[in-house]
Structures are given as C-alpha cells and as structure tokens.
Amino acid sequence: MRIPIRMIGIATTFFWIFLIAFAVTAVYSLKDVQFDFGEPQTGTTADNRLFFSMPIKIFNRGFYDIGYFNVTSQITSGDGAIVASGTTFVPVIRKGEEITTSHMVTVSIGDLLQSNRNYLFNNTELRICESVGMRVAEMIPVQASTNFSVPWGAPLYGFALGAPEYSTYNVTHLRVVVPVSFENHSFFDLAGTVQLRMFNSTGVYAGFGQTSVGARQGSSYDGLVEFYVGASGLTRSGSFEVSFLSSVFNYGPWVIPYG
C-alpha cells in the first residue's frame, strides 16, 4: 500500500506545482499586456448613420495567448431603452503580438428621434455601458465593465416658429412670412430643409412653404419661411404642420399652432 500512496503523493505534488505556477504566471503576465484606447471619433457612414469609432491597440507581452478579446458598448436612453450597441471581437492575440483594431458603434439618428422626440428638442443624457472581456491564457475569463453618462445635445433645441406676418401679394393671394429659429446643440453639423404646411382654424389646407436651413454644431439658426396662400381660406388662427428633412435624419410632421 505504501507504493500507491507514494505515487498519489508524487502525482498530487506535481499537479499542485503545475497549477500554482500556471496561475501565478497567468496573473503576473497580465501586467505585461498593454491596452491603448485611442481618441474616440465621430462621423457619418455612407447610409447616413452616425458612428462612434475608437481605435484599440493591444500589445501582448505576457507569457500566454489572450483569447476571446471583446469590447462591447451599449448606449441606452434615460428610460433604459437600447439606442445602439456594438461589439468588437478578436479571437486570439498571440504572445508577443501587437494588434490594432477599431471599435465602432453606429446609431441611426432617424430611428432614435422618431422613437423619442425628446432627443430632437431637449438636451438630455445617454447612458453608455462599456465592457472589455478576454480569456487570459485562453482559460481564465476576465471582464471589466463600466458605465457612464454622456450629454446629448438636441439638434433642434428651442425650435420655434414666430408669428406669421401677412402682406398682400395680389388680389387673391397673401404673402406669408414665418420666422424659424432653433439652436443646434448636437455634435454634428445640421443642413436640411424645414417644410411648413399651413392649415386654417377649420383644418383646411391653406398653403405650403419650405426653406433650407443650416447650423453648425453649437450654433443657432434664425431664418424665414416665405410662401403664398389664398386670401379666402385664411383665418387668424390655425396650425402649421412642420417637417424637417436632412441627410442625417427626417422628422415630422409635428403640429405648432399659430394665432
């Protein structure tokens, strides 16, 4: 019985040494893995979606390969609805290898604004949840996660139509001038068209006008929409159906009363 016991002892000792050496070197080699997250960039894709891109450089100087490296970003609104998400996955980073990848999240501004008009007119906050995961030595899963808020600037902040001004154009028609103003608090430049459909107090269509608008990020816009309406159908009060069309998003119509 002594020999089997001794053999068990030798085998156990060998496996313990192997296990401890592996665990210690795996943890120790983590400090030699260099992560470099570059400056985030924003822009628009060919299909007019906004993108957030972040270059990631990983230099694995550790003793073991790193497997299943992934970066996940999830952007949620204040009420917890998922606005956008993106995942970057690198299957294996060999020891001594340096890789550069780019983590990208795209957002359809049109869908976002259609789902909640609050983003169009009011500054608010978006929650971003970032997580980085990997398998050290392709065996030990490690995950780090964080969440933070980023300010969301409304592209049509404080959008307002002024009181329409009327002047006689001819016997049957009036010229209507409507002041339009807003501030572009978003992180992208805005260029598009504001369309107005005028309805009188009984809901009868009176006329249509549009104008091109443009506002750089952080700047305000003040302009006029000029159009002609039939004098007979006009009333002192009524409503405008406003639509906004741009390359980044389309929104509308929404109703603004006048008079």
Binding site: P4, A23, K31, I140, S145
Partner: protein, 134 residues
C-alpha cells in the same frame, strides 16, 4: 530532533515559496488589496498545520492534521474565491475574474490529497494491527 528539523526545513521552504509568490503578485495586490491578506492567512494556517503534522509524524495524529490540512485548503479556496467568480470594484469600474475552472482543479487535487491521507491512516492502522502481539 529529526522531526523538528524536517518540520523547520519544510516551514522555511514554504516561507520562501510564499515570499516569491507575494513578490510576483505585488502588482496585482495593488489592484486587489485583499489578495495579499488572503495569501498570507492561507500560508500561515497551512504552514502551522504542516509543522504540527510533521512533529506528530509516526502517530495517528499526523493523519488527523494532514486531513485537516487538505480540508482547510478546500474550505479556504471555496470561501476566499467566493465560489470561483471573483469580483472587485475600483471607482466606477467593476472587474470580474472567473476562476471556476482553477477552483475545480484545485479542489479535485485537494480531494486527492485527502484521499491519500485517508489511505495513509488506513495503512498506519493496518501496520499497527499487524505488529500488535496477541
């Protein structure tokens, strides 16, 4: 005298292992402050049980202490590693390390050690019974 010397040598050897490990894990200890304390407590208890086991070598108590050592390793690993999923938070960043595979292997090895101790105890009792004069 020989038992004490053997125990002392093993104690010193294990202390050296502890010292090397703590040096290697120093960068990680700054991130996980409880790690150093965890390893220190483990080594103190393990070395004490090992020395006492060696001092009582040749008696049935040696096997009790060896079994206690194996059970202590299992218990300590399960409690300190919190079931294998180890989490820590630094400011707004939460870190999660899944050590379940490591834990399973360590527990299996400890169980093998426990089995060896039980076999040693049985062997000891058998040998004692064989030489007992009727």
């Amino acid at each position: 005298m020989f038992r004490a010397l053997k125990a002392a040598i093993k104690g010193i050897l294990f202390y050296i292992i502890y010292f090397v490990l703590s040096q290697l894990l120093a960068p990680v200890s700054t991130l996980v402050p409880s790690l150093q304390q965890m390893i220190e407590t483990f080594f103190i208890a393990y070395i004490v049980l090992m020395i006492v086991g060696d001092l009582t070598s040749g008696t049935i108590y040696q096997h009790f202490f060896n079994a206690a050592k194996a059970l202590f390793v299992i218990g300590y690993l399960l409690f300190s590693l919190r079931g294998g999923v180890f989490g820590a938070s630094f400011e707004n960043v939460s870190l999660m390390v899944d050590l379940r595979l490591f834990l399973v292997i360590a527990v299996l090895l400890s169980l093998l050690g426990l089995a060896k101790t039980v076999l040693q105890a049985i062997n000891y009792m058998t040998e004692k019974a064989e030489i007992t004069p009727i």
